[in-house]
Amino acid sequence: MDKNTVLEVKNLKTYFHIEDNIIKAVDDVSFYVLKGETLGIVGESGCGKSVSCMSIVKLIETPPGKYEDGEILFNDRDMLKISDRELRSIRGNDISFIFQEPMTSLNPVFKVGEQLSETMILHRGMTKKEAHEESINLLNRVRIPNPERIINDYPFALSGGMRQRVMIAMALACEPKLLIADEPTTALDVTIQAQVLELMNELKNEIDTSIIFITHDLGVISEMCDRVMVMYAGKVAEVANVETIFGDPKHPYTIGLINSKPDLNTEATRLNVIPGNVPDLNNMPTGCPFHPRCTHALPICSSQYPDEIILSAGHVVSCWLYSSDINDGGSV
């Protein structure tokens, strides 16, 4: 593992065994996160973006979930092999999470301050009093007005934007090396979303943490991320830096996704559409899972999953259209 790499996930397979079915929520996914960068993971519901990130700190309930195969390297240790005790010392300390719905991820019966202090008492060995003071500090840093008062409030008394700020404060309490943000602004209004995104960017520069930003919103990806990974049906379709994803996308799914969203700044008379529905994870198409919806599908697409093809440095796509075995690097 390169010393600039914070996290490396190799060939991760997280399956769910439900009754007699095996649901391949994450199927042979590999990616890495560099120091200080923001990696965006984008995809539609059920594509495995949340499961792959929750697998990193083993937050998937087992059973029904099962880590079938793969390695997750963080600090030169394989997260899938270390003991629960070690894992607990990493969760919320070196790797922390921000979830979509702050109301369900904050405990409703504890005051904001108590929840904030807990992490610091646990991981940073602070006394109750020190943790209390540090909590006020943290709330100040995420620009919550009157932190002395808010600290004694219960989560229900705060607005959605405020709650998400508290979640961010909590996630940053131990200055993590990696912050995983799972749709952190999806439940927020546009003007509040802009505030929270700006705050996250500022704090990221302050404490030099890496971020994995999971979202279905391409606009947020374009505002926040350095590199982007596009997922479809449990697999990685395409990875590239953010300018390439928007400027020169290669995978037919990436192209479809970008074209199907109307742009705020231009007029259009008709939207481009990806035909069909997102596949049922219970009943996955053979070969490339996107082939039933793909307008460029080749005969081989329905029988065999393509290998990763490196188009240029950092731009990797899994699609037969670019395979030299099939043609000489055709274009979409």
């Binding site: 539609e44 519901s45 607005s159 934007g161 405020m162 209004d189 546009v190 003007t191 509040i192 979303q193 802009a194 505030q195 995104l197 700006e198 279905h216 919103d217 391409l218 606009g219 947020v220 374009s222 505002e223 953010v242 300018e243 928007f246 479809g256 996704l257 970008i258 199907s260 969203k261 109307p262 742009d263 705020l264 700044n265 007029e267 259009a268 008709r270 939207l271 481009n272 559409v273 990806i274 035909p275 529905n277 997102v278």
Partner: protein, 328 residues
């Protein structure tokens, strides 16, 4: 004669806040406060605003699904709050609504036949069950659903297909006016574009009039002819979409446009952005004067004391702001 299908005049909808043993009213949530606008026949009015600004309440009050506090709504010149029950029943077929969540707006115990056909029988659009089935199939195929799906139940459909069922149900009674209340917000991006195209095709083919309520500015820009911007129960700016998007006048509209994430990663460092301070105030206790003054970057003293007038700044472009109205 004007060509307006819907005319809303000084519409208000207040919800009482009750407290104590005797449930005495201690205040009101002013969800919709003195709203006036009209929609021309065959046009799409997009209504944008953040959560709690009253856009859904406005939609429901226009359909008389909620009784108004005061004001009037005219549908083809008829004040819908004054007509009798029988007349209202007839008007109901002309005005339909499509809701956000296709999971909670379809009865899980009814097959698609009955979900779509129920209103046809009720309003005597189909004389009997056989005719109803025929017409259900017809409207389903318009919405790109297959006839063999008609005997299935809602849980057997995906989110996008359910929304197609909701659209088919709305179209079943041959309406003239449809309110789409966040109709595509719960759908995945690739499915969202399919449904938006379907809504647009239906509107063009059948000459429908829409009130398209959404918080997604890019979707509103795509589908609307005119756009209204709501903030805390009031329409603060309204005009053709070209004017609203390319030349926003009200500071709130301006902030809203600049807060929406853009698709161009290269512009993220150069783009002018207005980040509003603070949260949306409570509609139970809105700020005095201009309701936006607590978050407005241009606010002056007059804004906190005087309510700005809703003025026509240029032809068909209305705005409610002291700065734009030329007070300062």
């Amino acid at each position: 004669m004007s060509n307006n299908l819907i005319e809303v005049t000084n519409l208000k909808k207040y919800f009482p806040i009750k407290k104590g043993v005797f449930r005495s009213t201690i205040g009101h949530v002013k969800a919709v406060d003195d709203v006036t606008f009209s929609i021309e026949k065959g046009k799409v009015l997009g209504l944008v605003g953040e959560s709690g600004c009253g856009k859904s309440t406005l939609g429901r009050t226009i359909l008389r699904l909620l009784p108004p506090t005061s004001g009037e709504v005219k549908f083809e010149g008829e004040n819908i709050f004054e007509v009798d029950k029988k007349m209202m029943n007839q008007l109901r077929t002309k005005m339909q609504i499509i809701f956000q969540d296709p999971y909670s707006s379809l009865n899980p115990r009814l097959p698609i036949y009955d979900i779509i056909g129920e209103a046809m029988l009720q309003h005597k659009i189909a004389a009997n069950k056989a005719e109803m089935r025929e017409k259900v199939i017809e409207v389903m195929s318009k919405c790109e659903l297959f006839p063999e799906q008609a005997s299935r139940y809602p849980h057997q459909f995906s989110g996008g297909q359910r929304q197609r069922v909701c659209i088919a149900r709305a179209l079943a009674v041959n309406p003239e006016f449809i309110i789409c209340d966040e109709a595509v917000s719960a759908l995945d991006v690739s499915i969202q574009s399919q449904i938006i195209n379907l809504l647009k095709d239906m509107q063009e083919d059948m000459g429908l009039t829409y009130l398209f309520i959404s918080h997604d500015l890019s979707v509103v820009r795509f589908i609307s002819d005119d756009v209204g911007v709501m903030y805390l129960g009031q329409i603060v700016e309204m005009g053709s979409k070209g004017k609203i998007f390319d030349n926003p006048l009200h500071p709130y509209t301006e902030a809203l446009m600049s807060a929406a994430p853009s698709f161009d990663p290269k512009s993220r460092n150069t783009r002018k952005r207005i980040i509003l301070e603070g949260d949306i105030p409570s509609p139970a206790n809105p700020p005095s004067g201009c309701r936006f003054h607590t978050r407005c970057i241009y606010a002056k003293d007059v804004c906190s004391t005087d309510i700005p007038e809703y003025m026509e700044i240029e032809k068909d472009h209305f705005c409610m702001c002291h700065k734009v109205n030329g007070v300062f």
